[in-house]
């Protein structure tokens, strides 16, 4: 923020419209990017940030509106053209070939790449770039061997290798630990200092405050405003983003919880490739307690959840629910034992996308009255119960016969959580329950979780979102490579400490 950006406009977008499936993702959006600035694009999920970036990067073409690049009107037909003009984007989902080396990925699609690869030269360039921007990387490593953070580095270096003038980073911190995030911010400032322009997409206010020169806020596909970061205060940015004042709910401190409801002892669960993904985890959850599991994605969270709900057989250890050993029970037996589970993938696992909301709300309870009588379904019960739940949990957009996949993410998640709560769970296992939700929906889902906590439900909250974990958990566990590497009461937890533990630096964290 010390570096003053120049006044030269690198990019200007005027009145850009873009619709998907009848929904306006961008509606008459204006956006100006100065040369040499870090420009934050702030907005809730679904506000149109990624769409705007993708238009700039040539992935989408706008339905209407103009794009000016260095003062000239341009139409990028595809990302390749944009890249040739010096606009590069790091997508949320990386576009690297996982079987190739870092250097080979550098060469891929590069205009100088001929039939033969000059491996040596690329290796040298990659290493030098890495040193220069403090993003060290082994050019000979294959992508699949790298961590998510390292893969992101490769994406950024790859664009720098192409010498882009405009670098777009779409939610880059979502996959990083706080420490990695800080290192990235340093790199971003360095690039801006060199006269490159950086677009930083985020919905996290503190990050935006910290790293950007200017902020453009999008809401519902429209530009709400653009301000110099120094002039904006956090509360005001939040209001621009959400459209109202909003404070997300957090738990109140509880001194004593009830009896142990879920007891996990030395649990081992195999991963997809036979290796153990959960390697001896033990913890207890008491009635009314929320245990948070923090960790970078891919450290055994999925297998832990699968092992606990019966979707995958643990290879060793035990799980006791309310005094009964349920280690090797089937999924159905887990459901019957009043164990609720909200999986990470809503439409991929939690809901049947093509069935109606009513049917999805009966997905687990359909086997018994009122949903069925003997072998026969009771259509009126589906309708009545569905109406009641939709009403009670404020699930919007529901219409008879409408497949649930056409609801918005927040309403999907409310339906999913509502169904699990309706099963009157003793134990509730949640994976990233507010991931991808807008603030309003996040508020509602958090309130539901806290209400269940107050009712005495033992809750396991597995998440990568530290804000959420800190706001809801009574106790925090950190998972790293399938093991618990740290445990602390919420009061003692900080983002920094959790971050160090999440990246496996146990000594530093305890120091």
């Amino acid at each position: 923020m010390t570096q003053a950006p120049t006044d030269t406009l690198a990019v200007e977008l005027c009145g850009v419209d873009k619709s998907f499936y009848g929904v306006k993702a961008n509606d008459n959006v204006d956006f100006k990017l100065a040369q040499g600035e870090v420009h934050a694009l702030l907005g809730e999920n679904g506000a149109g940030k990624s769409t705007l970036c993708s238009i700039l990067a040539g992935l989408y073409r706008p339905d209407a509106g103009d794009v000016f690049f260095e003062g000239e009107e341009v139409t990028f037909k595809n990302p390749k053209e944009a890249l040739a003009s010096g606009v590069g984007m790091v997508y949320q989902h990386f576009r690297l070939v996982s079987n190739l080396t870092v250097a080979e990925n550098f060469a891929l699609g590069h205009p100088d790449t001929g039939v033969r690869l000059n491996q040596k030269e690329i290796h040298k360039a990659a290493r030098e770039l890495g040193e220069k921007y403090d993003l060290p990387i082994d050019p000979a490593a294959r992508i699949w061997q790298l961590s998510v953070g390292e893969q992101q580095r490769v994406e950024i270096l790859k664009l720098l290798y192409r010498n882009v003038k405009i670098l777009i980073l779409d939610e880059p911190t979502a996959v990083l630990t706080p420490q990695e995030g800080q290192a990235l911010f340093k790199t971003m400032r360095q690039m801006a200092a060199e006269g490159r322009s950086v677009i930083f997409v985020s919905h996290k206010l503190d990050e935006v405050k910290q790293v950007s020169d200017r902020v453009t806020v999008l809401r519902n596909g429209k530009t709400v405003g653009g301000v110099a970061t120094a002039d904006a205060d956090t509360r005001e940015l939040a209001r621009m983003m959400v459209g109202r004042d909003l404070v997300l709910p957090t738990r109140d401190t509880v001194e004593d919880f009830g009896d142990v409801m879920l007891s996990v002892k030395d649990l081992h669960v195999p991963g997809d490739r036979g290796l153990e993904a959960v390697r001896g985890m033990s913890f207890d959850i008491r009635e009314g307690e929320v245990i948070g599991i923090a960790g970078v994605s891919g450290n055994g969270q999925r297998e832990l959840a699968y092992g606990l709900v019966g979707l995958r057989k643990p290879s060793a250890g035990s799980v006791v629910l309310d005094g009964a050993d349920i280690t090797n029970n089937t999924v159905l037996e887990h459901i019957d034992a009043h164990q609720g589970y909200v999986p990470q993938s809503r439409l991929g696992m939690g809901l049947a996308p093509g069935l109606t909301t009513d049917e999805n709300l009966a997905l687990k309870a359909y086997r018994s009255p009122p949903y069925s009588k003997g072998r026969r379904l009771v259509a009126s019960a589906f309708r009545d119960e569905g109406d009641r739940i939709v009403d009670e949990y404020d699930i919007r957009g529901v219409r008879p016969g409408l497949p649930i996949r056409l609801l918005s993410g927040g309403n999907l998640q409310k339906a999913l959580v509502a169904r699990e709560i309706e099963l009157e769970p003793k134990v509730l296992i949640l994976r990233s329950p507010t991931r991808g939700l807008d603030v309003g929906a996040t508020e509602q889902v958090r309130n539901l979780i806290l209400k269940e906590r107050a009712r005495g439900v033992a809750t396991l909250l597995i998440s990568e979102d530290l804000d959420e974990l800190l706001a809801l958990s009574d106790r925090l566990l950190v998972i790293f490579e399938g093991e618990i590497v740290g445990e602390m009461p919420a009061e003692e937890a900080t983002a920094e400490r959790l971050g160090l533990l999440m990246s496996g630096q146990v000594e530093e964290a305890s120091a």
Partner: protein
């Protein structure tokens, strides 16, 4: 940059008017396009269509013949539809149909004359279903437990079933072969008591049995606990697993049920107009046509009934067209055109086209989301 002139977007909720209107329009469009083609080849399409209409529905006998042809198609259509709904790509309806006919006629011959019709007919039809299910199981069990590709296995089993039938009649002195006829091998007639009585010209009561079985399938899938679980599995097997449903068993059962329905068709055909295991009467591609019927009906188990009647009418029109000098291939062309238009029509059922400057009405307020799948 200029504004786009049209925007294609999905409809949120599809009203029954659209759901019914689009397929009807598709069929009409197919007839019109095929009519233009006929006209260009020097044939009067009006003459062709009136001849077809007359042959299929113009006389009581024509209607009876149309319904006779529709009877097996209803069942092979249901067989294909229930499998496809579950993403089970059973294209072995042909083989399962033949096996149904083999087992049904075998049981009828084995039981002989002593059993009264009231028992015999149900036994024969059920035997057909068992035969079809058994044949399907050869592909279903490895599909469910070993993950083999059922498209390939069911297709192969079609050829094997046909070879088996030919062997039983042409290649051996099996109990299915008529010992009384030495001039040319043919199927031994099943006992009269196993034949479904004719009610209207050649039409037997089989049409009612087929319709009842289709309605039963609709009820089973749509209105029962088991059917609900099946629909969940068909929609998302991961979700079904998550909801505590035994996915492998459900897929297996549906696969077998699909085979059984094709087998019912074989049994009904034998007990109805054919009356013997007669390769010449059974090798008509009725199993394959069932796939087309199912596709045209949008996999809707009740819509299959009228679609099967339409296809039955088209099938029967072929020889009548020859009599007025139009090649029989016209009928195949029409069937193809109808299918292509129906598939294209499906697009208009699920999507709408509007001008960008006209805002959508309330129907599309719903926000579709592009949900990410959790990486495996």
């Amino acid at each position: 940059m200029t504004k786009r002139r049209f925007i294609v977007e999905p409809r949120g909720l599809v009203s029954w008017k659209v759901r019914l209107g689009v397929p009807v329009a598709s069929v009409l469009a197919a007839f019109i396009v095929a009519g233009i083609f006929l006209f260009l080849t020097g044939v009067n399409p009006i003459e062709v269509y009136s001849e077809m209409l007359d042959a299929a529905f113009g006389s009581p006998r024509g209607i009876s013949e149309t319904l006779i042809s529709a009877t097996p198609l209803i069942l092979t259509g249901v067989a294909a539809a229930i499998a496809f709904k579950m993403l089970v790509w059973n294209i072995g309806g042909e083989g399962q149909f033949i096996l149904g006919a083999i087992v049904a006629s075998g049981v009828a011959i084995w039981l002989g004359d002593g059993v009264p019709s009231i028992l015999m007919i149900p036994i024969v039809i059920v035997a057909g279903g068992l035969g079809g299910a058994m044949w399907a199981s050869i592909a279903a069990i490895p599909r469910v437990y070993l993950g083999t590709n059922e498209i390939i296995t069911t297709l192969m089993l079609n050829f094997i079933a046909l070879a088996l039938m030919n062997f039983l009649i042409f290649g051996s002195s099996s109990p299915w072969r008529d010992p009384e006829v030495s001039t040319f091998p043919q199927g031994r007639p099943i006992p009269e008591s196993a034949r479904i009585p004719e009610i209207f010209f050649r039409l037997t009561g089989g049409i009612f049995i087929a319709i009842a079985l289709a309605v039963f399938a609709w009820y089973l899938i749509g209105k029962t606990r088991w059917g609900f679980a099946v629909r969940i599995v068909g929609d998302s097997s991961d979700t079904a697993r998550y909801a505590g449903i035994g996915v492998a068993r459900k897929i297996l059962t549906v696969f077998l049920l699909s085979g059984a329905y094709a087998g019912f068709a074989g049994g009904l055909f034998v007990a109805g107009p054919v009356g013997a295991l007669d390769p010449r009467s059974l090798d008509l591609g009725l199993g394959f046509t069932g796939i087309i019927v199912a596709a045209l009906a949008g996999l809707h188990l009740i819509a299959i009934i009228p679609v099967a009647i339409l296809m039955g009418a088209l099938n029967n029109a072929g020889p009548s067209l020859q009599a007025i000098g139009v090649p029989t291939a016209t009928v195949t062309m029409l069937q193809g055109a109808i299918l292509i238009f129906a598939v294209a029509g499906e697009f208009f059922i699920n999507n709408r086209i509007r001008r960008p400057d006209i805002e959508p009405d309330e129907e599309s307020e719903v926000t579709p989301v592009l949900e990410e799948v959790e990486p495996a």
